[in-house]
Amino acid sequence: MSTNSVSIPSQAPDKAQQRRSFLLVVCCTIIGAAAQILIKKGADTLGGNPTMVQTALAMVLNPALLAGFSMYGVSMVLLVMALRHGELSLLYPVFALTYVWVAILSVLILHESMNAFKLAGIAIIVGGIAVLGKGSSA
């Protein structure tokens, strides 16, 4: 397989770098989740059936929407920085943490309810990420 692999200079990262990449992706997911909550809050102020123009204007003028989309941009930059070192197949699944933060923030900020299914889901996802985290430093 190595013959048709794309050669990337940073293919054999050291462990510290791999761990740093892992933590960067975790930061990414926190920022991405906050962005989603802000976009949800901003979208709620748009009303029932906004036109394309209203939506486009709101993306620039509505502080919550503007902040939300800017944070998406920031998380994209962090993701690219993280991907410079480390394996894609270890880093990409960490993105599932976004679901965990969104579930927690939805309860805290949007006052949605917490239930056994959500708690179980959060626990299993975090367990899975922990397995990846161990794999990335092993």
């Binding site: 397989m1 190595s2 692999s5 794309v6 990337i8 200079p9 940073s10 293919q11 994209m76 993701l79 690219v80 920085m81 991907l83 410079r84 394996e87 894609l88 197949s89 270890l90 990409y92 699944p93 993105f95 599932a96 679901y99 965990v100 579930a103 239930n115 056994a116 299914f117 959500k118 708690l119 179980a120 889901g121 959060i122 626990a123 299993i124 996802i125 975090v126 367990g127 899975g128 990420i129 397995v131 990846l132 161990k134 794999g135 092993a138």
Partner: protein
């Protein structure tokens, strides 16, 4: 549990497939980055990766309008499974047992979260 339209599943599965190419091109592009602004702007692989991501989010938005999130959420994260395959085929990253275990747990957890959400 059976009121997730096939069309929603197709949108979401399509989105996860397209999004996985976003991840792949971002990774290849990121590996070629140097510390000059020019190398960021002229990096077409990064641009392509971002374009794939934006395109996939349109599919997701169309997909999650109708249907059960417990079905659709894990389908969104199937993108991780495609990405695992491209990582092996294109980047030459090894399949390891922790990767499979972690991915299985994550998909399962996301299904639970989806069940609790509606």
């Amino acid at each position: 549990m059976n009121d997730t339209p096939i069309s929603s599943m197709v949108w979401v599965l399509g989105g996860s497939f397209i999004g996985s190419f976003g991840a792949l091109f971002l990774k290849i592009g990121a590996g070629k980055l140097k510390s000059s602004l020019k190398s960021v702007i002229t990096n077409w692989r990064l641009g392509l990766g971002i374009a794939f991501y934006l395109f996939s989010s349109v599919f997701f938005l169309l997909g999650v309008r109708k249907g059960e999130l417990s079905v659709l959420y894990p389908m969104v994260s199937l993108g991780s499974v495609w990405t695992l395959v491209w990582s092996k085929l294109v980047l030459g990253e090894p399949f390891t047992r922790p990767k499979f275990i972690a991915l299985g747990m994550i998909l399962c957890g996301i299904a639970f979260l989806g069940m609790g959400t509606r």
